[in-house]
Amino acid sequence: MGWSLFMQHLVNAISLGFVFGLVAVGYALVYGVVKLVNFAHGDVFMMAAYFMFYASVLFGFPWLAAVIFGVVMTALLGVGIEKVAYRPLRKYPRINSLVSSIGMSFLLQNFAVVVFGGIQRSFPVPEMMRKTIILGEVRIQAVSIYTIVFSILMVLLLTFILQKTKIGLAMRILSTDFDTARLMGINVDNTISFTFALGSALAAVSAVFYALRYPQIFPFMGQYPGSRAFIAAVVGGIGSIKGALIGGFLLGMLTVLLPAAFPEYSGYREALIFALLVIVLVFKPNGLFGQEAGEKA
């Protein structure tokens, strides 16, 4: 593989890494605060793509407005799911919420099949995202650059919210102890709602870039990135924001670079990736940043 080809693959890998990373952060945020693996997260991601699709194609929103509309709607959907499916179960054993989240996942998928239809739809890709940037011999998709830039902005924004704002502090406190948090005057319900809004909004942003990359959207499109991101969050150390991001990054890199490096084995891509991840977990059973699970970020 030549240098220019390598650079192309690298940029591609980094951008996919960020997409998985942002979805994984959604898992980590929710897990960190409420200790729940939200299996519906991948389907929230899928819903985000449909919100944007309909805003753009059906209602004729300009592309950027459709994206913003999609992010807001997805955040609201996340808040709604928590209210309906998890909050009533909060005082019961955690396994109940887990099962509820699996149910919510099926519900969203089947809702999408019935209401949006099972056929694939073309996600609108604006002209500026279709461009290819040529630097000497290196050809880079514009969408990859946008993905990387916006993902970095999202990570910075998230870090700022967690570290510098009142609601971020409330989230960090909640991740250690609900009862004491209440006695510090924290509104637990509102903070959890915000956590779901934030996690879902991140899923929506990554859904935009995922759909720009693979512009066919369908009701089960959330499964693949959703399960990928969940694994990334576990490899990173579930509950750790940094871990989720790095886990996602690792997964995205492997997904692109392994078949690029060994094209003759590309059929074994999934097997190779998961073999590597199993090895990571054998040596670091709590994930790469698992020991920080309580601290997050």
Partner: protein, 274 residues
């Protein structure tokens, strides 16, 4: 901004003391078990009430009811004349009630300083957007918090441990840190749950002075649950004795010490300490 809130409502004449906390016929049942039965108290501003009784008498339950960690079964709780029986815990805390725990509950992975700052931050006015814009108000509040956190650490005597992990502190100091953290929420009413537990006699003596000092300085009304009679008898103005959820006696420390019911139920024979 934060501690100043305490100054409000202090303008009444000292001899007409306002009622801070009023519990009327408060009852808590857990299934068939009556944890607290028909509990009544009218607590005046600045008062220091001791709550004693054998294990399982329902003392901590009363704290849990006041702060709505658990709901009351029957009865009414008023704070400065406002019915708080059904308010959520966070609202009650914001009105000005703070507590410490029998089993210390600090944020163990945070430093001493951070534990206190955390409690201040909850009252911050800054929302996401003022913080983003780095408006002067945000800066001002940050500085204010730094300064007040320092004051509180000095107040309880842990300023030299500011950057230590809270879990690395000895037991007695952890209790003091918990008191400092409770003060940071700028309470008018402070509920202390066995503050002397695990302390040696010297530390206990110091704690007595600390409680009296902070009551004066922050104009607090205080309820103390304590097993250590040296604490209760020395600092309380009034004592309520519970046994199996029932109030069996109420009075000044000397009255309580002579009450035959109390001696029978709680002090028992041979408790020369009392």
């Amino acid at each position: 901004m934060i501690l100043q809130a305490v100054e409000v409502e202090r303008t009444t004449e000292p001899n007409v003391r306002q009622t801070v906390l009023k519990l009327e016929h408060v009852t808590k049942k857990f299934g068939g078990l009556v944890a607290v039965s028909d509990f009544n108290v009218d607590l005046k501003e600045g008062e220091l009430l001791g709550l004693i009784g054998p294990n399982g008498a329902g003392k901590t339950t009363i704290f849990n009811l006041i702060t709505h960690v658990i709901p009351v079964t029957e009865g009414k709780i008023e704070f400065y004349g406002k019915d708080i029986t059904k308010l959520s815990t966070d609202r009650i805390i914001k009105l000005g009630i703070a507590r410490t725990f029998q089993n210390i509950r600090l944020f163990s992975n945070m430093s001493v300083k951070e534990n206190i700052m955390t409690a201040f931050h909850v009252h911050l006015k800054s929302d996401l957007f003022t913080a983003v814009a780095f408006l002067p108000k945000y800066r001002e509040e940050e500085e204010f918090i730094q300064q007040k956190t320092w004051e509180l650490m000095k107040e309880v005597g842990i300023e030299h441990l500011a950057d230590h992990k809270s879990s690395s502190l000895p037991y007695g100091l952890q209790r003091k840190l918990e008191i400092a953290r409770a003060l940071a929420t700028s309470p008018k009413l402070l509920l202390l749950d066995e503050p002397a537990a695990g302390m040696n006699p010297d530390e206990t003596l110091e704690l007595n002075q600390l409680i009296l000092r902070i009551r004066e300085r922050y104009k607090l009304t205080v309820i103390v649950i304590e097993h250590d009679m040296k604490v209760i008898m020395n600092i309380s103005e009034r004592i309520i004795v519970l046994d199996h959820g029932v109030t069996i006696a109420e009075g000044t420390p000397s009255e309580i010490q002579q009450n035959p019911l109390v001696i029978k139920a709680y002090l028992g024979v041979g408790d020369e300490d009392a």
